[in-house]
Structures are given as C-alpha cells and as structure tokens.
C-alpha cells in the first residue's frame, strides 16, 4: 500500500481501527468474558446513551461551538417524564412532552447564544448548571422510583438484542441520511466552515444556530428517555459529567473543533469506543475511582494515536 493510499484509508477507517485495537487488547486481557455475545450486547447497551448524547454534541461542535449542557438536559427530561408517569400520564404522551421540553431547553441555549452574541461554551456552561439545578429543585433532590413496566420495557430486548442499541443504530442511519442528503444539514456544514461566508451566501446564521442547538438538545432528550428507562428510575444527578464523554466521542470520531467537518458514522464509532472502554474497565475489575483516571488517559491516548498514525504518513 502506498503512503497516499494508506492516508486515505486511515482518514476513513482510523477511528474503526482504534476501536478494533481496543477490543483486541481487551480480549487478550480478559479472554473468558470480553468477546462473548452477551458482553457484546452489553457494550451496545452501555454505549447507547453515550452515542445519543454524542450525536447531539456533534451538531453543536459542527458549528465550531460546543454544548456543555447535554448531560443536564438528559437528566431534566428524564426527571420530567418520571414525574409525569407518576402522575399517570400515558407513557407515549409523557415521552412526547419530555422531548418537547428538550426542544425548549435547546431553544434557550440557541436564543441566548444569538441574543447575547456569546460563545456557546459560556452559554451552555451556565445553562448546564441551571438545568441541573432545575432538575434538583423539581425532584427535591431524590430519585424517582417505581416507573411503569411499559416504560422500563423500552430498554428491554427484542430477538435477544437490546432495544436501545437497535434504536441507536436506527438513529445513526437516520442522521447519516440527514447529514448527507438534506439542504438544512449542508447549510449547517457551511455555517460551521465559515460563519461570515454563510451569512453573505444567504444563510440566516441565527436561525441555523438556533436549529442546531435545538437538535442537540433534542438528541440529548432522547438519550435522557433511554437513560431513565434503563435505570428504571430518574436520578437527578444522572448524566453528570457525560458531556465530557459526548465531546470525547465526537473528537475520537474525527469531528473538527474548528467546525464544518465531521461524520455521524465517526461519532457512532466514538461513542462505541467510550462504551467499550467503560465495559472493559468493569470486566477487568478496575475500581470506579481509578476508572475515571484510566478513561481520561485512554481518551487522550486514542485521539493521539489516531493523529500520530495519520501524521506519520502525511504526504
């Protein structure tokens, strides 16, 4: 293989290669458990929330911005839904209202960014805390248990496969189509590539910024539904710090921080990588305190490795 060919191979399959490498390492470290079908399903299940949050994060980063509030949005939506379910609101309606709330939260982010002309980092840093605070206020700080079985059933299995993971794959397919085939997504790429040029080409940058943040929150809201149904309870502190994993998934998946570049498939692999690392650390009985240390190190290592291999064959 020539250098140029390897370069284009690595551009396409770098993230996948890193994921496979991690899987091989874990198979060697834990030959008995890691590569079993049950565990693979488990990885899928564990990755789902990361993947969905990362999809949301993707659209914020695509505009050269960021959304630090995805974890709080998931928790707030989950808590709202749980409270509605406790008040005997039918499951589908509760989920629908929950997702509408996520759109409102995204609109808050987008409108603040537009109105104050602030970097999304600042705005979502603030709203992240506010949304978390609202979650704690409405739940009075305690988890909401005893959710109906039909709601928990969302996180069940069909034909032996975890429904959330199937859902994540379906969502990936939809978003891959969305990012490749719709005018609105192309305009988001344009806006992320050069905001000023977008404005001077006829793209109303404010409307699209608002749209991207609503979409980001919506996907975080979807993650919130799955997260809550999987645990079977709404924890007001659920998803705390998950924005880090969402951002990490995007970076591992090759989304550019400068905006305008990135692919949904890469983000899917990024989310799976985070899920695989989490799973592996559990299997290897790494203490939960150490897990964070190892996780952070592995995030840096996987991005660095990808970049390193990519740059050694530059030109």
């Amino acid at each position: 293989m020539t250098r140029a060919k390897f370069k284009s191979f690595w551009d396409k399959f770098g993230t996948l290669s890193i994921l496979i490498l991690i899987m091989i390492c874990l198979s060697i470290a834990s030959p008995k458990y890691f590569m079993t079908l049950d565990n693979i399903k488990q990885i899928g299940l564990q990755s789902t929330v990361y993947i969905l949050l990362a999809f949301g994060e993707f659209f914020a980063i695509l505009l050269a911005g960021i959304d630090l509030s995805v974890g709080s949005v998931a928790a707030l939506v989950g808590t709202f839904i749980a409270m509605m379910l406790k008040a005997n609101v039918p499951v589908p309606l509760a989920i629908l209202i929950g997702l509408l709330i996520s759109l409102v939260l995204g609109a808050v982010n987008g409108l603040l960014i537009n109105a104050l002309d602030l970097h999304p980092f600042v705005v979502t840093l603030g709203t992240n805390t506010i949304f978390r605070g609202v979650t704690l206020v409405i739940s009075k700080g305690s988890p909401i248990f005893g959710l109906p079985a039909s709601f928990k059933g969302i996180s069940g299995y069909v034909l032996g496969f975890p429904i959330p993971f199937i859902f994540a794959l379906v969502m990936s397919a939809i978003l891959i189509w969305f990012t490749n085939q719709t005018v609105v997504a192309r305009n988001l790429y344009a806006l992320g590539g050069n905001k000023q040029a977008a404005w001077y080409s006829g793209i109303n940058t404010r409307n699209f910024t608002l749209f991207a943040h609503m979409l980001a929150s919506f996907l975080a809201g979807v993650a919130g539904v799955i997260m809550t149904s999987r645990v079977g309870a709404a924890e007001p502190t659920a998803g705390e710090g998950y924005e880090t994993y969402a951002i990490a998934s995007c970076i591992i998946g090759g989304t550019s921080f400068f905006g305008g570049k990135g692919k949904i498939f890469g983000v899917l692999l990024g989310g799976l990588t985070i899920g695989t690392i989490t799973n592996g650390l559990n299997i290897l009985n790494v203490s939960s305190y150490w897990q964070k240390v190892v996780m952070g190190a592995l995030i840096i290592a996987s991005v660095a490795l990808e970049k390193l291999v990519g740059s050694t064959v530059k030109d």
């Binding site: 490749n180 085939q181 719709t182 005018v183 609105v184 192309r186 305009n187 790429y189 344009a190 992320g192 590539g193 050069n194 000023q196 040029a197 977008a198 404005w199 001077y200 080409s201 006829g202 793209i203 109303n204 409307n207 699209f208 749209f211 905006g259 305008g260 570049k261």
Partner: protein
C-alpha cells in the same frame, strides 16, 4: 559595494513542480526594485529565499561579501534583511514600542531582576517613529491604530533592526490613496538613507511612481529587468502575461440610452449605523455602474445594506419596477440579489467545501423554503451545475472536487461568481472584484462582468482602483462621508474628477 544582495540562478524545485527556474536578481543601495508577475510567477518563492524560509535547490546568494547557497532566518536577520508581509505581523495587544522590540526588549537590572526598561525603549522607538513620520505615542496599543499606521510600525521595526534590505509584499493592497502617498513618502526617505527595497506589487501604476528598476517573472522563469524610466507601464503587461490585454470593457452607450430600461433602483437608503445615508441610484439595462471614493466612504456599507447583510432604517429597493422586501441575506438571494464580497477568505467562500459544494450553496437555498430548512440534496445535479459554471467562467481547477481554498485568488473569485450565476441572480454587486487578483484573471473578470451586463443583469462595481472603474463602468457614482457626492459618465470621467468628488476640496 555595488549590490546589497545578488541572487544568481536561483532555482526552487518542489516535488513535481519547478517553482522558480534560474532567476537572477540584484538590489542596489537606495533603490526600489519592483518584483512583478502574476500570482504563481515565483515572486514570493524568490523573496522567501532571502528571508530564510525557502531553501533554494540551486543558485547562490551573495550577501555582505559572503556567498551562501541558502540562508537561515537567523542569517537573514544578521544580514539586515526585513520583510513586511501583506498580512501584517504586528501584535495588536502590545504597544508600538513593544512591537518594535519584541523578542529583544531592553532591560535594566534592579535587585538582580531583569525588568523592561520602558523609558529607554519608548525613547528609542520614538526616534524611529520620527524618522518615518509616524505621529503617535510609542505607548499606544497597536490595536488602536489604523492599518496604514500598523504598516508604518512594521517599517519602524525594520529600522530598529537596522535593516539594509526591506522587502514589501503588496504594501498598498489595503491602503487608501492618501495612505499610499504617505507610504511612498516614507519609501523615498528610506531610499535617501541607502536602504534597498524589494517591492512586490500587481499595481502597474505604482511601479512608475515609486520604482527604479523592475524585474518581471512569469511562470517561475525570469523575463527581464528594466529601468523604470525607460518604459511605459503598458509595456509590462505583455511581459507578465505573454498576451496583450485588449478590448474596451465599456457597454454600448447609445444602446443603453435607447433602451433606457431601469432594472434596479434604490431610493433613499440609510443604514442603521449611518455609515451610508440617503443613497439613491438606478442601474439601466446593459450598464455597469461603478462606485468610487475613498476606503471607508460608505460604498461597501451601502451595498451590505442593500444585500440585507446589515440593517437599514429606511430605503426602497426596486427590481424591474417591483419593490423588494429585503430583511436578511436569504431574502436578498431569493429575490435575485447577489453580492461578491471584498474579503474572499473571510466572507466569500467555505474553507471546508470543494467547488461543487461551494457552487450549490446558493442553489439549494433558493430552491428551499423556511430560510433554507427544507429540501433534499441532489449530488449529481449539484456537480453538473458546478461543472457548467467552471466551464462557463473558465475556472482553472483540477475538477469540481478540488477545494476552493486551494485555488488561486482569481479562480476563487470565479467560483464565487459562479455560485451566484447558478441561481440566475438579477443584480450583481461586486465589492473590489479584483483585489489581490493577477492581471490575466482581472481581465477575464472584467469580460465576465460585461457579458453579464449584456445578458441583462444589473452590475454594480465598488472599487478603490480608479483605472478599474474607468475601464469597466459606464457610469461612476462617487461617495464621500457616507453620501453620494457626484455622478460621472464614462466619457467625461477622469481620475482627477473622481478624486475631486471623493475628497472635500474646500
């Protein structure tokens, strides 16, 4: 010593390309030696050898009595060579004096600590600033001064480094006429002190005004070196491009007046920030309307208002008699208005897009509804449209998959024009359409504008280059301080008349 520097048979090969082929060049003390050539002719490659960035493949540089096969940036600085790039490299957050001494701040020792000696530094800086006539305090922050003053800071910095050779890369590209005059005055003073200046420029008129000798490069090869006194500016163009630029770009005045059909009309437009006030004008069929004036007179600001890019408080805009409702750039696009902006890199194209994606942005928006939120892409149609525009505009590229950012300035400009032609816009606003574009491509762009006007589109050209206005426009409107100060027909327009209207005389 006859020459400050002598470069002999400089050759630079990159894999697959010869960027420079056996080019010789020399510089005498106290002369301005102009380096002329189209983009990609090898001017930058040559001067980067002097600044130590490029390592020549072949050739030798005789400098300060020594012969080098290549220079390091350090050797370049030791030999008192300074370069002032088009994109100025002053640090906005520092003061003028700090900029002059950045990296080698004078210090005093107090209790064993090295502290910056501001008093001494400001005194010294003041000397160099006086030398070039920069009337500011040395402790002024650079972010608070104008672009031309920043450039003067760069020159003062070169003087502070005791430069004997100063390379200026298109120094007047963002200067107004007065600022250019000021720069020339400084350059003349530098010459008196025996400093040699290598002056890179596209602007042929300047060469006659400031140059002593001129060396022309073409496609990486050496064409000729001549004394400026012995030649006419027009002689240089064929040397640069190897073809004579012919053709009058004006429209058929009789036909324009006979048709007398007003395509586009603006009435009493005033921008919210008052940078353009009470602007009224009309563009007739087959006509190219020019806007002259000094930089900052409100021409671009007025156009941004028409295009919906910046808010206006009053003003009516008509296209073929029908009033348009423009609230943002999207509504402008939808109603047939196109704007080719002045700064391609900042507001013109997308660094992450290739040619076909670039071209189809506007088409997709125009077909779409709800501000560009609806609709599906059609890659095949997008590619075909882009290929069509590339062909129609003779854009030089390896194909529509090439990234716009990797094209030369002239071809980037063509891609941007193509993006608006693709949606069949009725009104084209060109803001400094040939800024930073080489002579050959310039001429092509003038032809394109004329063809568009003949095809019935309203063409508006904002330009700070008066010859450009005189050459291309059928009528010229002049701005002064945000208002229209005069209108000239092409027959009786001269540079003097434009200037007269552009500056307050009494």
């Amino acid at each position: 010593m006859e020459y400050l520097v002598e470069m002999k048979n400089m050759t630079m090969k990159f894999p697959g390309v010869v960027a420079l082929n056996k080019v010789s060049f020399n510089l005498r003390p106290g002369e301005v030696h102009v380096l002329l050539g189209e983009n990609g002719a090898g001017k930058s490659t040559l001067v980067k050898m002097l600044s130590g960035i490029n390592k020549p493949t072949e050739g030798e540089i005789v400098l300060g009595g020594k012969t080098y096969s290549s220079l390091t940036p350090r050797e370049s600085a030791e030999n008192k060579i300074a370069i002032i790039y088009q994109e100025l490299s002053v640090v906005d957050e520092l003061t003028i004096a700090e900029n002059l001494y950045v990296g080698k701040l004078p210090y005093k020792k107090i209790a064993g600590l090295k502290l910056v000696d501001y008093k001494y530094m400001n005194q010294e800086a003041q000397k160099y600033m006086d030398e070039i006539g920069l009337k500011k305090s040395p402790s002024t922050l650079v972010q608070d001064i104008s672009i031309s003053e920043k450039q003067q800071v760069e020159i003062a910095k070169a003087l502070a480094a005791k430069a004997r050779i100063i390379i200026m890369d298109e120094p007047t590209s963002s200067l107004s006429i007065e600022e250019t005059e000021e720069l020339f005055r400084i350059i003349r003073r530098l010459k008196e002190n025996g400093i040699g200046i290598i002056y890179i420029s596209h602007k042929l008129k300047e060469i006659k005004e400031i140059g002593d000798r001129v060396t022309v490069l073409k496609d990486g090869g050496y064409v000729d070196t001549k004394d400026v006194a012995d030649l006419e500016v027009e002689d240089l163009i064929p040397m640069m491009v190897g073809r004579k630029i012919t053709g009058n770009h004006l429209g058929d005045r009789e036909q324009i007046e006979k048709d007398n059909e007003v395509i586009f009309k603006v009435e009493n437009l005033t921008r919210k920030d008052k940078t353009a006030r009470n602007i009224s004008f009309e563009v007739r069929k087959g006509e190219i309307l020019g806007f002259g004036g000094l930089i900052g007179a409100g021409r671009s600001e007025c156009m941004e208002g028409i295009f919906g890019a910046k808010p206006i408080t009053s003003g009516k805009i008509y296209l073929r008699g029908k009033e348009l409702k423009i609230t943002d750039t999207y509504s402008a696009l939808k109603q047939g208005i196109a704007m080719v902006t002045e700064n391609r890199r900042e507001t013109g194209f997308f660094q992450n897009f290739n040619i076909w994606k670039e071209t189809s942005v506007t088409t997709n928006l125009k077909k779409s509804t709800f501000g560009g939120m609806t609709g599906l892409l059609n890659e095949k149609a997008e590619r075909e449209k882009a290929e069509e525009e590339v062909k129609a505009l003779n854009t030089k590229c390896s194909g529509v998959d090439q990234m716009t950012v990797n094209l030369s300035g002239g071809n980037q400009q063509k891609v941007i024009i193509g993006k608006w032609l693709a949606v069949d816009s009725d009104v084209f606003i060109f803001d400094e359409p040939t800024k930073g574009i080489d002579v050959g491509a310039k001429s092509e762009i003038y032809n394109i504008m004329r063809q568009m006007a003949n095809a019935g589109k309203a063409i508006i050209v904002v330009s700070s280059e008066m010859p450009e206005l005189l050459k291309t426009c059928d009528r010229i409107i002049v701005f002064r301080n945000g208002e229209i100060s005069g209108t000239l027909n092409s027959e009786d327009a001269t540079e003097e008349k434009i200037m007269y209207a552009a500056v307050a005389v009494d």
